[in-house]
């Protein structure tokens, strides 16, 4: 169903961090950007769609105007807002926001780091664009920082701090930007597996809390009002966001899940774990019964590798990319033949539903 394409070589290897791959598709320029974190460096690769041109860039996490002392990066993620795209980098010291090609840093937010080391690590982790003009970033204290992003320029401001979680934030996800109206458009997850469901606005509104079972939720996605959560036990769970009703539970992986991704137009789900497997699933919603089903489609095993990032390269899920700990390449897989036909049919179904 998917076959391997030529891998993209990286300047250095990927670190073992949750959700350690981010992809941004720039259709007007026929380019795709990839970012992978290595310790205190973000590796950026820009690839042309014809596969002929690659260019690399490296970003370090450090405070502006301070020559020394870089810090370890926890995550780098593209935030696609209607008016602009940003690259957000979260580290032990704080949060940096760049223009999406990594050329200029437009904003720096320092974390409150205490003078003497405390019993708990301090870092920022969990990044998502929300609605038309917000970027949310999680913190190790459990706080979620909400930044208001103007349509251009560097006048980004911290607009709100959401304090519902008691444990370190692991991942944040959203859906419904632009014209679509959603009841819930943000979900935040933490180290204890607890999740909060929000509606964005001038003041973010907490809609629901889904308690964890003391097992870390390392990656979370939101799709058509359904929360998809990946856990350290290797399970994937599907919850209805606003009610917390459990739709389905999958014993998906034999080790800790590191990454989930959704292709929103086709309902394809990607899961990747330390067990060397990337799995592709298909989600379907029956509006009459309000039920969500998940079906397994495909397995991909990356030999002798603990996977740390997996992302679809486009909204239909025709292709996806994978990174692994200690691996200096981005592995790419492209859908083919009967797989493509399946995807196309589903896309048509969804769009009929929308109309």
């Amino acid at each position: 169903m998917f076959h391997k394409e030529k891998s993209i070589q990286l300047k250095n290897s990927a670190s073992a961090l949750y959700n350690n791959l981010s992809v941004l598709r720039i259709a007007p320029r026929r380019l795709t950007y990839f970012t992978v974190v290595h310790a205190n460096v973000v590796n950026m690769v820009s690839t042309s769609w014809d596969g002929l041109n690659y260019s690399h860039r490296q970003l370090q996490s450090k405070e502006p105007n301070v020559a020394t002392s870089t810090s370890l990066i926890m995550q780098a993620a593209f935030c696609a807002l209607p008016s602009r795209d940003l690259l957000v980098v979260s580290s032990q010291k704080g949060i940096q926001m760049y223009e999406s090609d990594g050329s200029i840093m437009v904003y720096w937010h320092a974390l409150d780091t205490p003078e003497a080391p405390t019993a708990h690590a301090v870092f920022a982790r969990g990044i998502s664009a929300v609605s038309d003009n917000y970027v949310c970033v999680g913190v190790s204290s459990g706080a979620v920082l909400v930044f208001d992003v103007p349509s251009k320029g560097s006048n980004i401001t911290l607009s709100e701090v959401l304090e519902e979680h008691k444990e370190a934030i692991t991942d944040i996800a959203s859906e419904c930007s632009g014209s679509q109206e959603c009841l819930a458009n943000l979900v935040t997850a933490d180290d204890g597996g607890n999740m909060c469901v929000w509606k964005s606005g001038e003041e973010f509104q907490l809609l629901n809390k889904i308690p964890g079972l003391d097992m870390t939720c390392s990656s979370v996605k939101l799709w058509k009002g359904t929360v998809l959560a990946g856990y350290g036990t290797g399970q994937i769970r599907l919850y209805e966001a606003v009610t917390g009703i459990l739709h389905a539970e999958v014993n998906a992986h034999a080790r800790w899940i590191y990454s989930l991704d959704i292709a929103p137009f086709s309902g394809l789900l990607l899961s990747a774990a330390e067990d060397s497997f990337v799995r592709v699933w298909h989600l379907s919603i029956t509006p009459e019964t309000n039920s969500v089903e998940i079906a397994h489609l495909h397995n991909e095993c990356v030999t002798d590798t603990q996977i740390c990032g997996a992302k679809f390269c486009d909204g239909d899920g025709y292709a996806f990319a994978v990174t692994g700990y200690d691996l200096s390449e981005i592995i790419r897989l492209i859908g083919r033949g009967e797989g493509r036909a399946l995807l196309r049919v589903n896309w048509r179904d969804q769009s009929r539903e929308e109309v």
Binding site: A121, T216, L246, E249, S291, N299, D326
Partner: protein, 386 residues
């Protein structure tokens, strides 16, 4: 990232050091080494192990390690571990120390990577602690120190959540990134590939608390299961074999952290570097790092060895052609194996090797070590001159 890594790093790296030293010193005791000028008796070996364990589990040293702090560079680790090795009557030349460090790092990387759950890293550490206990069982005072340390470790780490342990593990994996030294005993046992990467099986028992992959369950709004289906997981998994004991003693179940070298002959612990990353040689040490180094060195007791006693210099791995032609080494994938000649030479000069190592981070000629003096003061004085 995690501020709780140091104690586990030292227990596990130090634990591997004990296994390797034990094996090497036993090898020196064999009748075949008639040609060597020095012979290590059973008594000497036990003495070295007691001295190293005693220093490693010294109260003030462990208390320093247990303070929440960042994990620093390989250079700091290696400096402290060298000092640890030299807290006994033994002296290792820099080449031996380099190789020893590579072996320890690769063994530790294997243990961290293959721990089924992040929390299992504690079981790995407890395996090392159990072994250290066995080495010093005839010395009640040192045995007591190991027990005390174990109790403190249990107290500190039982409070950490699974998420905390995964952060700890991720911090360690970043520290161990890009090191792919090939170790012959690992290659022989097929836990490492010729490329230097470890073998990750997609079969076998799942970790405790994890279900065998392959099942999808669906529920109705009232939480009742309404459907089940299966999918092919791609690997062949079986149920968990249960959790090991996290107490002071007990069956750890997990074998990671146990002595891999026991049954092996000395030649099996040779290493060969894959072309590429070296353990960071060039970065200057950060100020906080130097402070930590000074504190740790200051806490390590000078040992019971009188200043005038002879030190025994050991070359665990001979200076090999690969070391000498560092710049010109061909970038081949084939492993380069050398024959090991183990020499133990009685050496009246005190710690010239250590002085050279300590001098590496000051770029000055260090004076000869005064074993009964305060090592911490010497380091601080040297740092003031930087």
């Amino acid at each position: 990232m995690s501020v709780r890594t140091l104690p586990l790093v030292f227990i596990n790296l130090g634990g591997e050091m004990l296994y390797i030293l034990d094996q090497r010193l036993r090898a020196l005791n064999t009748p075949e080494d008639q040609s060597e000028t020095g012979v290590w008796s059973e008594r000497d070996r036990k003495r070295v192990l007691n001295d190293v364990v005693g220093t490693m589990f010294g109260k003030s040293f462990m208390d320093e390690l247990l303070k929440p702090q960042q994990l620093y560079s390989h250079r700091t680790m290696k400096t402290v571990l060298t000092r640890l090795a030299h807290s006994s009557i033994m002296r290792l030349n820099p080449a031996s120390m380099d190789r020893l460090y590579e072996l320890m790092i690769m063994a530790f990387k294997y243990q961290v990577l293959l721990s089924p759950r992040p929390r299992d890293l504690l079981l790995v550490s407890y395996n090392h602690l159990d072994a250290a206990r066995a080495f010093v069982r005839d010395t009640p005072a040192v045995l007591n120190q190991v027990d005390e340390t174990h109790r403190k470790i249990i107290e500190v780490y039982s409070r950490l959540s699974d998420g905390d342990f995964q952060l700890l593990r991720q911090t360690l994996l970043t520290f161990l990134q890009d090191v792919h030294t090939r170790v012959s005993v690992f290659l022989k046992n097929q836990i490492q590939n010729p490329s230097g990467r470890f073998v990750l099986m997609t079969s076998g028992p799942v970790p405790a608390g994890v279900d065998v992959p392959g099942l999808i369950r669906t529920f109705d709004p009232r939480g009742r299961e309404v459907g089940r289906s299966e999918f092919p997981p791609g690997g062949t998994y079986s149920g968990s074999v249960g959790e090991g004991s996290f107490e002071l003693s007990g069956d750890r179940v997990l074998r990671l952290g146990q002595n891999l070298y026991q049954a092996e002959r000395p030649e099996e612990t040779q290493t060969s570097r894959t072309p590429g990353a070296q353990l960071d040689r060039t970065n200057p040490l950060a100020k906080e790092e130097l402070n930590l180094l000074a504190r740790l060195m200051g806490c390590m007791k000078a040992g019971s060895v009188p200043a005038a006693a002879p030190r025994f210099r050991i070359s665990l791995f001979p200076s090999d052609p690969e070391e000498e032609e560092e710049g010109g080494a061909p970038a081949e994938q084939a492993a380069i194996f050398q024959v090991i000649n183990i020499q133990a030479v009685q050496d009246e000069e005190a710690a010239s090797a250590l002085a050279r190592i300590a001098g590496q981070f000051t770029d000055e000629e260090a004076e000869l070590e005064n074993p009964s003096g305060s090592k911490g003061d010497d380091l601080l004085a040297m740092m003031d001159d930087l």
